[in-house]
Symmetry: C2
Subunit: 234 residues, 2 copies
Amino acid sequence: MHPQTAVRSDPIRRPAVPVRSASLAWDGAIDTEVLDQTMQLMGAMMGYPRNSEIFGENEPADYLYKVVSGSVRTYKILNDGRRQIGGFYLPGDIFGLEFADEHTLSAEAIADAKILVIKRSTLNALAGRDASVARQLFALTGRELGRVQDRIMLLIKSAQERVASFLLEMAARVSGGNSIELPMSRQDIADYLGLTIETVSRTLTSLECSATIEVPSSRRIVLRNRLALSRMNG
Amino acid sequence: MHPQTAVRSDPIRRPAVPVRSASLAWDGAIDTEVLDQTMQLMGAMMGYPRNSEIFGENEPADYLYKVVSGSVRTYKILNDGRRQIGGFYLPGDIFGLEFADEHTLSAEAIADAKILVIKRSTLNALAGRDASVARQLFALTGRELGRVQDRIMLLIKSAQERVASFLLEMAARVSGGNSIELPMSRQDIADYLGLTIETVSRTLTSLECSATIEVPSSRRIVLRNRLALSRMNG
DNA sequence: CGACCATTTGATATGGATCAAGCGATGTGG
DNA sequence: CCACATCGCTTGATCCATATCAAATGGTCG
């Protein structure tokens, strides 16, 4: 299933916008407003069923994607068969930004997902005319870089620290207060954190025993003691 | 020691350049030619003795740096005292590109280093006028992102795989054929790979026993069997 | 109900960390 | 020029966190 085959309302030409000459600031405040609008107007809405592939490693990276509903994982299968998850993308998140011609990771829907898809070439051309689009693409990349760097710090820590960080990260992103509804399986979490599913499970159990969290159902986790989790963090 | 105190030849104003309207392509071929020229013309050359700090975590990120000679490590000290090295930068490499107002890592000279320093605001303004500068900054970021993502794949692998990958990476970057002169200590390597110094040492010894590498002196390593190293890679 | 899949729990193995000692290069002072 | 201190690296012995192997439990759907 590929974007070019999408049935959608005709692309609406973005109304001629004066070329903004704002500098390509690589600083601070990230709002992706203009980018979001652009994707709304010029993108195609696609549906991907649970576990379906959105793009595969080594396929040409011709599109940029924005999660509207559902969630997405990017991953890579290593030659020994292990799977490393590159990241999770929740509603509102943008993924598929690549700097080579081909994707270096594959992407799959974790749950049935609606995804806004826009041609890279379209966005690319637009970025040339509208500096705010360029700036937002740049900011997006910077944010992604920051996230990945944080992951590196994570991956040298203990299992408890990794799980604690993961929970705090998720709590911040899904933001339902202290109660998190996890879209992904234990295996996904394990492959994200570089642990085994058993270790993730045991660690959660242990956090539950110490009254740091509650696990009313396997996909739902309630943070009872954020401070304790933060202290584990590093 | 801070860039503003540098003694240097007066900054030469870059000759007025027509605003290039090339699009902000986020694809392919990375040459940093224009960026390099700009830094040559408008940057200040600074000297940093071995082990001196270039910038510290949480300091304002007001400059971009390019290694002319010597080499640099970026790192972060975790709350348990461990040090994680973010990256090594060799002559020709650019570092210090941040997306927050403050540095998230510290940087130190590994060996006496000459470094070209340019104000972020200068470059920023220039990027607004010259799309090729903007494009190169963007490409640079993309390359950094790629590198960091590769590190993540590395950090879930075995000690042998990590060391093998490190050697291949270094061989590609210092590029003296099969003979590598390492600028960094075993401790640096260990902190880069998320291992202990003992494990790094043992792994090198083991690779030497299997005739995969030679270690004529502790800082010099000769790759005898690249294929074997690649196979360990993943 | 029964099959299936995800998750948890239990028992054991192991890779790399930790603790400790030895070695070799480099530099310093007598 | 040589004894000696220092520092970075290697080697050895042991320990422990997490992986691995195996089984039990629980939840979901036909």
